[in-house]
Symmetry: D2
């Protein structure tokens, strides 16, 4: 029984879309219905440290598994993965790249759950959607990452205020009403005056999100000093909008660039 | 801090590709490096019944979760999901459909693992790739499913012979050599003469793969007769190439068709 | 001097997008800046019979040149060409199909200009844009053509009134004002009461647009009766929304369909 | 009569594909069946100077008409047009850009034919196919143009030898046989020894193809000196592979670049 009679369904309908060369490939994944998922699993509001650490652990696994990912940035239930400019990962086929990234991330999330929530069972399957975007040069990939971090700040600033108000006794509707139309300074003032909180003292992981990359270190896995520089996958919570971080870590993107 | 300065990275680089209307949408997912995965987890060869039942359980969860999936067909570490012709699932956006299907399937696979392998721990994250294909009419969607089932037969027929030979003492290379250039009849003869096995007596799940769909039944969840017909998600291992199955289950595709 | 050093610019950046099989392919072309072009060349308003006949002649040339075009429908400076469902024209590569159709049409338009405007020189190059759309079945291709003909009616009904008003002495602004918010019946009444014109008596080419197809005829090229039926490319101005035309010309789409 | 009943054919099937920002857009058009076209119109072999000048005139018209085209390169019946990196020409919609370029070029070709072939009537419509390709940075756009000029050289070198042989009495088959497997030096030797031709003395337009761009000049349209530098569309036949041309004309791409 030869299959040739039906093989036309592949030949005439399946098309592999390849992404153009010399472009940074970003895969951004995002939790599906995580509002509900975080309620069911009683996540802390506005930020659950364990949930964020789990996300970071998954991102770290991604960099371990896929060497062409040179940088990852995550906030809340979202993570962006940057492949080096000339990666030939699955011959740059869009569907392969998207499906494999989102599937591997999801799988690790499930497997590592117990490490971060030893006393909570998974009650529903966590799952993520994803998309692939190409950026043609260093400026646009920098701006992409800046875009995500600005978004992190805007959302976290708002959510910090919102949940302070709710925890202080307001209804969610009242809290929303209070924050409507407020600017950044208004929020800082509200936090300091009403709650004696300096927003800048909030944990950097909440305010800045998390960056994962291969850092040049002079220590072994236990922190002991070694002679030769080696690359170690690192999670940090630094500002990646201004020039400082990229000045200190030029090699991350430059060694991944074709220019 | 407004985000407008960087938002161009979304506006000018992210594009949502929508799939054309009046097409059946197929998402086919496929295990990544499952050759290795099945070795690590000591799957039976050529077919591990528990691994197949786990795949079927995940497919069943897919139909429970996503009502617009009207049919699924699986074989080995692969599963195809057919969405009804006019589905508006995520406005037919390709990236959303692909990533969500592959992520949800992966997540359920990890969660249900223990049900099917109570004595084996997951030692590596199982993950899948996927693709989306559109088929414009009933004939092409039928032919797509027939293509997969013919493939199931060809592969399983070969693998059954191959592993019989190996288990009988041949090396993998010798087994391969023995089967080189054989036709279907040769394989049947080898099985019956050398191993007293009638291929048709092999389990239908191995020979035919598994179909998942909503069947019209007159029993409740416990098999007791009820008065009104209801739809129950069912797994069967029938021939879906010939006209018989589709004649008996016309409603599956016809109620999902727009014509 | 081998070219291999630079050939990567083709291999890594040029992609041929093929259109899915079993879909009717429509190429719709549309005059660019024809408002200006028609003014410069002093076209009659609202319809210039010679300009429309020139468009029809170009469409006829398209069907002569490209046998896989089975039907064309034109109105004003726009023409749609329907390729048969399973056409392998340029292996269904989108860019080839689009560029060749729009280029050939443009070229014929320039060459035939003198036949329809013997006393007018072309003062600016006429040019067209175009797009390619796939329709997966008979219903959608019928509805596509109906959509264009309804559009033809709506525009021509309005324009007929508008130019009657302008020719009767109103300014363009006043004419526009008069017609604002009017329904079909209002326009018919205006035409009959103010201008003693029965819209249905206007030329069918203006009201219905033009269809080009291979008609089954029993006459030779000079209109003399012949014995065997032959196919002759024909331009007609009939209703293609209702069932009558397609009932009488079932073979046009059915012989071009794969089902 | 509202059109809403049918408008779904646009909404659900027509998609505008936009090209990603920060990419140079190249439209390359290519004569269709120009082998036949050049025979019918008795073009000189291997190069017809008038036919090439006509192509150059059309390219010049393109730069006059579309200011976002910053460079064009042509050889034989092919022309490439480079749009500046951030062009918003038709919102970067691929179908619009492709169809408009190929249509305008075709139209001008027909209209200018008489200027270059005053004694020859067009006997068949000239037409072109086209494609759109994106290049993400200066290096790749340079390499694209180098690729086309290397191709020009390889083809013209071969054709020059081929037609010398044919004109000297060989059949086309014999000429082909003679050239099979020859390297560049072999061809130069054949030309100089057998035909006393130094390939480098052949007209630059044949050997190098034609580049069209806005040059900085200090003369008016009649060649008289003027005080201020102005940009004038210029056709030249220079080497664009090496650094010299681009060194002298840095502004062409740099002013068109976003970086």
């Amino acid at each position: 029984m030869a299959n040739s009679e039906y093989e036309y369904v592949k030949r005439e309908f399946e098309f592999d879309r390849r992404l153009p060369a010399s472009n940074w490939i970003v895969v951004r994944i995002d939790g599906c219905h995580f509002h509900r998922f975080s309620k069911i699993h009683a996540f802390e509001k506005p930020n659950d440290e364990n949930a964020l650490r789990l996300m970071n652990a998954c991102a770290t696994s991604m960099l371990e598994k896929f060497p062409d990912i040179v940088f990852a940035y995550g906030v809340s239930d979202e993570y962006s993965f940057v492949f080096r400019e000339e990666t030939e990962f699955y011959q740059r086929r869009e569907s392969k790249i998207l499906s494999i990234c989102v599937s591997y991330f999801t799988s690790v999330y499930g497997m590592k759950w117990k490490d971060f929530f030893p006393n909570k069972d998974l009650r529903e399957p966590p799952y993520f959607d994803g998309r692939v975007v190409c950026y043609p040069n260093m400026k646009t990939i920098h701006d992409y990452l800046a875009w995500r971090q600005v978004d992190c700040h805007i959302n976290n600033h708002y959510n910090t205020c919102f949940w302070m108000l709710v925890k202080s006794g307001k209804t969610e509707k009242e809290a929303q009403q209070t924050l409507k139309g407020t600017f950044s300074e208004d929020k800082n003032e509200l936090l300091s005056q009403q709650f004696q909180v300096n927003y800048e003292d909030e944990p950097a992981m909440f305010r800045k999100g998390s960056s994962v990359y291969r850092d040049k270190v002079k220590t072994d896995d236990y922190g002991n000093p070694i002679k030769r520089i080696r690359l170690a996958i690192t999670v940090s919570n630094l500002d990646i909008i201004g020039p400082e971080f990229w000045g200190k870590h030029q090699y991350i993107l430059q060694e991944a660039s074709s220019v």
